[in-house]
């Protein structure tokens, strides 16, 4: 537990740390010939923020959707909290899902509910012993965490892109997950808002000691948040290392991400 605080700069080695997410030889084909994942292998250690780079359509979202059981891979192994996700029963999978937060690319806020309802809905389903006041105070706290307390009575359609992402994040955090999977948290936002979100991600990591996978195209976000980076290309991991290492990579294609 002691070593796990150190981050940026030192290359993390799996043997010294506890692997929280382990992905082995993951394969997925859609339809007849869309072979998206062709043997993806990687590990995320406790307390680590792993950034995933790769071009659009390279299968980044598919990979993290496999982790939470939204997509079933054709072949491979996924271990989370030392349990094989693919062998879990529905009930066990759901218990695991509560411990994993997933931030969707679009935010995926429930359109028909107000911001308050969006957050309270998740809470109410999982903590049935909470009364209305306790739910309200937890909702307020979660919104306060992302700096949007005054949006509580708004409907999702009234929110800007950045606000939607943040409310989505607040909704994800309300169950206090140990792992958070971010799917392009800053895509489509202006530079300043992107930076705010990136800082929020960093802040969450430090305060809650969460482990994260962050999919992004935003190198500023990667630089700020990444303990380690992997690059996905044509269905396999093309490169792996810290920001500093990959920036000076021999491989021109990998380097091109950093320009």
């Amino acid at each position: 537990m002691l070593n796990e605080k150190e981050n940026t700069g030192t290359k993390t080695k799996a043997d010294k740390k506890t692997a929280i997410i382990e992905i082995k030889d993951l394969h997925k084909t859609f339809g007849n010939d869309n072979h998206v994942l062709k043997g993806v292998n990687f590990t995320v250690n406790k307390g680590e923020d792993l950034v995933v780079l790769g071009r659009s359509g390279s299968g980044k979202s598919v990979t993290i959707k496999c982790i939470v059981g939204l997509i079933t891979p054709d072949k491979g192994e996924i271990n989370v909290f030392e349990e094989n996700v693919l062998e879990l029963k529905k009930k066990e999978l759901n218990e695991m899902r509560v411990r994993i937060g997933f931030l969707f690319q679009s935010g995926a806020l429930y359109d028909s509910m107000s911001v308050r309802e969006n957050l309270a809905f998740t809470l109410r389903k999982h903590k049935r012993d909470l009364n209305a006041d306790e739910i309200e105070s937890e909702v307020l706290e979660a919104l306060d965490n992302v700096g949007l307390s005054d949006a509580i009575d708004k409907m999702p359609s009234e929110l800007s892109g950045g606000m939607r992402k943040r409310i989505g994040l607040a909704r994800t955090l309300i169950l206090k997950p140990e792992i958070i999977l971010y799917d392009e948290p800053t895509t489509g936002l202006d530079t300043i808002t992107s930076r705010e979100i990136s800082e929020l991600i960093l802040d969450i990591k430090h305060r809650r000691k969460t482990t994260s996978i962050i999919i992004t195209h935003d190198m500023a976000c990667a630089k700020l948040t990444a303990d380690r980076i992997i690059v996905l290309k044509e269905g396999t991991i093309q490169a792996e290392g810290t920001y500093g290492e990959l920036e000076k990579s021999e491989d021109e294609w990998v380097r091109s991400f950093f320009e």
Binding site: K65, V68, L70, N94, E95, R97, V98, I100, F102, F104, Q105, S106, A108, L109, Y110, D111, F121, T122, K125, H126, R171, L175
Partner: protein
């Protein structure tokens, strides 16, 4: 062509599995009572005006159209009974169900389709909330219960429309009109007609949910889901109606 046929069979198979899941999940607590009532309101109450208007017109038109023939045979006194019978047995259930296919089934298809496309259904799934139970079970239950009620409502309004139609040509007291209807109605006219409306309701909800839940990515698929829900639900209503008539014929 063979591919098309294969797809159709696959679709029917998937839809059957989808419907079977309803019967598995509907009995397992916790029950989504609040959401169910909300759906009943949205599906039942909000369809009332449309059903009322069409019901009234159906009754009125049916009376006006049947009258000349009956007059020719000197059987004008049969008019109320005949109109009520056609309304209750056939016209009100089918027309109401078709209206609900157009309004409710497509509405559900579009709503769930857009939830699917914008990953809201996935979001429920990953936060360990059963989206089938929350979204689908409540809607199917609501349509199964509300469509029969709407049909009974349409029956009543249709009979009122018939009364209006009769009074265009003569002066019949409402009491006499109703008595005539009850004289010609039998219990057996009502039971099979009511039973089939539950099936209408079930399929209207089920098809809307199925199409929405299986919308593929991209916004145009929301429109497709809604459209395909109407077409499939309408066709299904006619097929159920045909089966219902055959079965009723056999037993009664």
């Amino acid at each position: 062509m063979t591919l098309n046929l294969k797809n159709t069979f696959e679709d029917v198979g998937n839809a059957t599995l989808f419907a079977a899941r309803f019967f598995k999940e509907v009995f397992i607590p916790p029950y989504e009572t609040r959401q169910f009532l909300k759906q009943c309101y949205a599906i039942g109450y909000k369809s009332l005006p449309l059903v009322a208007i069409t019901g009234f017109i159906m009754g009125l038109v049916l009376t006006l159209q049947s009258r000349p023939t009956l007059v020719k045979f000197g059987a004008e006194s049969w008019l109320p009974g005949m109109v009520a019978l056609s309304l209750i047995r056939e016209i009100a259930p089918v027309i109401t169900a078709l209206i609900c296919a157009g309004k409710v089934s497509s509405g559900i298809g579009a709503e769930l389709g857009s939830m699917k496309v914008t990953e809201q259904i996935d979001a429920m799934e990953v936060s360990a909330i059963n989206p089938y139970k929350y979204l689908v079970v409540t809607r199917i239950l609501a349509t199964t219960l509300m469509v029969p009620i709407l049909v009974i409502f349409a029956d009543a309004i249709g009979i009122l429309g018939g009364y209006a139609g009769i009074n265009i040509h003569g002066d019949v007291s409402f009491y006499r009109y109703i008595t005539k209807i009850f004289q010609s109605l039998e219990f057996l006219d009502i039971i099979p007609a009511t039973i089939k409306t539950f099936f209408f309701g079930f399929f209207i909800g089920m098809i809307g949910c199925y199409k929405g839940f299986n919308a593929s990515n991209g916004t145009e698929s929301v429109g497709k889901a809604a459209n395909s829900a109407v077409v499939t639900a309408s066709l299904t209503i006619f097929i159920i109606d045909m089966l219902a008539v055959q079965i009723t014929d056999l037993f009664f």
